[in-house]
Symmetry: C2
Subunit: 365 residues, 2 copies
Amino acid sequence: MSVEQFSTKGRLADVGEGITGDELQLAARNHGMPLEALRYDLTPPGLHYVLVHYDIPMTSASNWRLTVDGCVEQPLSFGQTELRAMGRQTVRVTLECAGNGRANLHPRPISQPWLTEAVGTAEWTGVPLADLLQAAVLREDAVDVVFTGADHGYERGVEQDYQRGLSVAEAIDSGALIAWEMNGHPLPPQHGYPLRLVVPGWYGMASVKWLRSIEVIDHEFTGYQNAVAYRFRTEAHDAGEPVTRIEPRALLIPPGSPDFMSRHRFVAAGTITLRGRAWSGWAPIERVEVSVDAGATWQDAKLDAGSNDDLAWRSFEYDWDAGPGEHVLTVRAYDESGRVQPVEAPWNRGGFANNSAQRITVLVQ
Amino acid sequence: MSVEQFSTKGRLADVGEGITGDELQLAARNHGMPLEALRYDLTPPGLHYVLVHYDIPMTSASNWRLTVDGCVEQPLSFGQTELRAMGRQTVRVTLECAGNGRANLHPRPISQPWLTEAVGTAEWTGVPLADLLQAAVLREDAVDVVFTGADHGYERGVEQDYQRGLSVAEAIDSGALIAWEMNGHPLPPQHGYPLRLVVPGWYGMASVKWLRSIEVIDHEFTGYQNAVAYRFRTEAHDAGEPVTRIEPRALLIPPGSPDFMSRHRFVAAGTITLRGRAWSGWAPIERVEVSVDAGATWQDAKLDAGSNDDLAWRSFEYDWDAGPGEHVLTVRAYDESGRVQPVEAPWNRGGFANNSAQRITVLVQ
């Protein structure tokens, strides 16, 4: 058997094809945030979504080095203590997987099969990436910045360390951090211990975990995760546009009590305050609408006061006068850039950025 | 629509039927332990398996009460401070979901679709259950002890608080704890904050989370989770035997590097030290065998020295002289009670205790 047979090309599910064993393996290792955890401003340990492309690598803080080199005047190398001496900043960020919503698409791209729960909000502490690049002094020929993690594996036949690139402008202007703490504690292994990149507003693939190298290059980065994997394509051979920032999305905390298997909800009739969170990587949320009739009519939800954390989720609530019978709840977000969350997002072959509106089926008794 | 349509009876997958949307919803909320985390003696935060039947309830330690009543001379009620005054003990325990392995069965019972990763090891700190029962003074008519959590929902048409019963003898002799710490920290929400039961050696369903009531009753407990859900059955209408302690299992850390999608492994030829963990809820592990030819031949692995934690996993290793080509690795555990992990475990309708041997496909290059 060859590498090509072990690590095959991507494909779409056939009509009516159930979730495959390969998809289930990913769903069992990686995990979303149970939607009732939308109740927490900061997602508690172990509930923030996790996606690991290969394996969680075995890492140690004591001998970890982060290098900054390439098109810089002053190549740098940091141990943990040296890096902490460069500065310290904490920022609250909502991160979402670019593949969130993929498993609801038709046809379904075969990959990590997220429904709607690949999200979480944390306070990340570290040093601004811009400060490191300033210390290294970018040369005039600097074009892209390449981030390499310690995780290694194969993907669609290509052996690789996990790598992502940002343009110099994106690297400096995005407010990205090199983080060593999550919610005031050292990073857990699955979130990048001992160091990771966090790029606020961008889908999670940009926030390289187990970060060991920052290389500035004089040309556009054409590595697998930028040029092949995370692209919006409708046909397999399209060049496609890159996946970048998080599209607006609102999610309700499912009300009442669930059925174990179907996750349908049971609610007692009366006034029920529906609550949830909304976010966008492009701009602050400015409006959320709720529908209790499967999208036939929409009402404004009441947003919280907002905060300084423009790229963290914003909470909302809506009082629903719930009468007996079956209801489908749905919700959509608007941001200050003019982006509106669609009821049904356009399909793409990688299953990225599917921010189609959530649907919750409720039996009011 | 009625309750019965919202919360349906269990069923088996049809021949060739892929994982269903309902199963995927559970797989996306709950999660296993990525198998590379077998490298840690204690499973780090967020990597221990989690199964929540309904929703993670909203709980607060400050107003939490745990009551002990029923067939006792001295009914008791504890706040957090009062409970801590009753004693403090720490025990290292490997917990495994009773449904681990379910999704590998044919036909597949439709429920939480675990492969092999629903396991984890933690140090739990709390007060021995036996001490609480002694303080409450069991009456002579005491038969079973019923544990009720704060999680509420429907299952196969039955509305319920999550409840499990143990016999008085099991409750006292099992070494069960009422725990408030996991690995030295307050319980995370998904693991039962602020209080949970931990029953060493038993599958996880016995270890009731968000514990608020311990009731001693004068008859056998016939609640849903004991009498209906967790039973070994081959036909739907069998009474079935109860699911209790954890059957022996060994798991290898998958060697080398994975393919993202198939999780097949790539390894360089040469001597590779395979490592893993084995456990049983019945007795200490006394032997582990490894096969590098899909079970045709077996060799003894080298076990670690063992510890005082009889019901925590034990590590092992085996030096494999890996030659080029495709190999299937497998492993099996033996415990001191004489139980042997089967290469293929007998099928049952609930998909419980499927400890069939792990299989890892490796391409040696």
